[in-house]
């Protein structure tokens, strides 16, 4: 008989995951009223927006009333750079993080000591949901620094009682040496970086049979990618969700059921809204995830528009947790591209490639504009499995890939077969879409 799945065991830190729903709603409302009052008192932008909509904290008598309050957008953080949305004086702020602003200024987020404690608590609960516990050796390959991934996972794993290796990102060969020699049982990194690690480990003949679980996040990834990781490496791949504006990693996590991500909704209140109208949608409907921090003092986020598309899953989970789940984020609006009027998501491209090859090859989508017309090129790395010594076999493969893409996406895409490892493997986020269009 196989050993029992540790992710099924109850961990004391996870107690808040199982509180009765009515009790949870009461707690959420009490916390929500407090945090909205705090933001209203201390954040001028929020107060002005409330006045414009003629709402005040006193109007918040039920959780549903939250829908009357204004949204907070990513651009609000940028427009009030660096400290405009802070609700605590610097004397009470013990940590600052910042996003890797690819365009212009980064977005800055702040934490009081109590905020850091909340963050650590949700990360402990996240790791516990993945079956990690005291005795696990956790290699934390998220980048340490301004990015929230590294330190968030670090303090969570440490508070859990696990042994933390703060290796940070990069230096793949050293990662593999440590993974093998330190008998690592769990790893935290982006899923694309883990694939890169696994590939290199195979080349080096490294043994990481002790590695049991991967806590993967910071980028959207598909079920196909999960299957590839789990089949190729035997590592159970858990999806973790978070964003620095809310707290960092630890907003949501998969349990052993791997069927949606539980949101730690005693700290982060989720809504799903129609991205076009902003109207709150019922549980089960697909829309944009909007999050409100219920217990973050330094920088309360009221109704933050995440741009992540998901749906709330109201049904109880096999694991018994009462906190609701969100569907895995298949797409971020910034990952989506519009080509000849058609919305395309990289996950759809993955599905199309998988249908032909059986496994997911490394790929990259290149968008160009030729004579005013958008062109999609999908570069696909040739693997030993599909390679043939016959031209016509490779041309047939190319043709089949194009047909599958056409069928799945509804647009013509040109497939280019490229040599192995010619598509750049990022140490952090995978760049799946390269947009070279001059718009």
């Amino acid at each position: 008989m196989p050993p029992p799945d540790p992710a099924r065991r109850f961990h004391p830190a996870s107690a808040p995951d199982y509180v009765p729903v009515e009790q949870l709603r009461d707690l959420q409302l009490a916390r929500l009223q407090r945090i909205v009052r705090r933001a209203h008192e201390r954040v001028p932008l929020f107060r002005t927006r409330c006045q414009e909509r003629q709402v005040s904290p006193a109007d918040l008598r039920s959780l549903e009333d939250l829908g009357r309050f204004p949204f907070t957008l990513k651009t609000d953080l940028r427009d009030t750079y660096p400290f405009g949305l802070f609700a605590s004086p610097m004397e009470e702020i013990v940590r600052l993080h910042a996003s890797s602003g690819t365009t212009g200024k980064p977005t800055v987020v702040a934490y009081t000591q109590a905020d850091l404690d909340v963050w650590t608590e949700v990360m402990v609960r996240a790791f516990a949901a993945c079956g990690l516990h005291r005795g696990d050796v956790v290699q934390n390959a998220y980048g340490y620094g301004l990015f929230t991934g590294g330190l968030g996972a670090h303090y969570g794993a440490e508070a859990l009682g696990a042994t933390v290796i703060p290796i940070s990102g990069g230096n793949t060969d050293r990662q593999i040496m440590v993974l093998q020699d330190f008998a690592v049982t769990a790893i935290c990194c982006t899923p694309s970086y883990f694939l890169h690690l696994a590939e290199r480990a195979r080349e080096l003949g490294a043994d990481f049979s002790r590695l049991r679980a991967g806590v993967f996040g910071a980028e959207p990834w598909s079920e196909a990618m999960r299957r590839r990781i789990e089949t190729d490496t035997g590592v159970k791949a858990y999806d973790i969700y978070g964003l620095s504006e809310i707290i960092g990693p630890g907003v949501g996590i998969e349990c052993f059921a791997q069927s949606g991500l539980h949101v730690f909704e005693d700290h982060f209140y989720p809504e799903v809204v129609d991205p076009a109208t902003g109207a709150v949608l019922p549980d089960g409907a697909e829309g944009e995830l909007v999050l409100t921090t219920l217990s973050k003092d330094a920088m309360p986020m009221i109704r933050y528009r995440t741009r992540d598309v998901t749906a709330l899953i109201p049904e109880p989970c096999a694991c018994g947790r009462t906190i609701r789940r969100i569907r895995r984020i298949g797409r971020r609006s910034d990952d989506m591209f519009i080509i000849r009027g058609v919305n395309v998501f990289p996950s759809q491209v993955e599905t199309a490639l998988l249908a032909v090859e059986g496994t997911l090859p490394h790929y990259q989508i290149v968008l160009t504009r030729e004579k005013g017309l958008d062109e999609v090129e999908v570069k696909v790395e040739v693997t030993p499995e599909v390679f043939s010594d016959q031209i016509r076999a490779l041309e047939a493969l190319q043709h089949k890939l194009e047909q599958s893409l056409d069928h799945t996406l509804g647009i013509r895409a040109r497939v280019t077969l490229v040599g192995p490892r010619t598509i750049q493997r990022s140490e952090g986020k995978a760049q799946r879409v390269v947009d070279q269009r001059q718009i």
Binding site: D389, Q390, E395, G419, R421
Partner: protein, 147 residues
């Protein structure tokens, strides 16, 4: 009866061919024969070497996608019409040739050795032998090319 050929995927860009050749050179692997198939987008390099396993290993370590396939080494009279005569053996056999490239000419004075890629090498070898076409063993083929 069969010779192992290594095929490599090449991107259609400057320098793509040189890399595997350099890798083999550094490993001391001598290329006995080669053929290069090209399309607008990519190419396939097919190689015959003596130490196939070693060549494959160094090429894969260098990041090449390599496939091993069997080809037949067939002796053809080195004279006008020699090839046409050999191809005549295929007539009516239902077997077809994917591609051909030479291993060596001037072997034993008046013959050439050609490499044939066919769908079913066993069947083709038996058929050719039955029609008086000499198919060389691996050893004979290597000897013919002086390896």
């Amino acid at each position: 009866m069969k010779l192992t050929q290594l095929s490599l995927f090449l991107e259609n860009r400057p320098g793509a061919l040189r890399l595997p050749c350099q890798v083999l050179g550094q490993a001391g692997v001598d290329i006995l024969s080669l053929s290069l198939a090209d399309t607008q987008q990519f190419g396939i390099l097919r190689l015959i070497v003596k130490d196939t396993e070693r060549a494959r290993k160094v090429l894969e370590e260098a990041g090449c996608v390599v496939k091993a396939t069997d080809v037949l080494a067939v002796e053809v009279p080195d004279r006008a019409g020699g090839l046409a005569d050999m191809l005549g053996a295929f007539e009516g056999s239902g077997l077809s040739i994917e591609y051909i490239y030479p291993l060596v000419a001037g072997h034993r004075g008046k013959t050439a050795v050609l490499l044939l890629r066919v769908e079913d090498p066993e069947k083709a070898a038996a058929m050719l032998a039955g029609r008086k076409v000499r198919v060389l063993s691996r050893e004979e083929a290597l000897e013919a090319v002086g390896a």
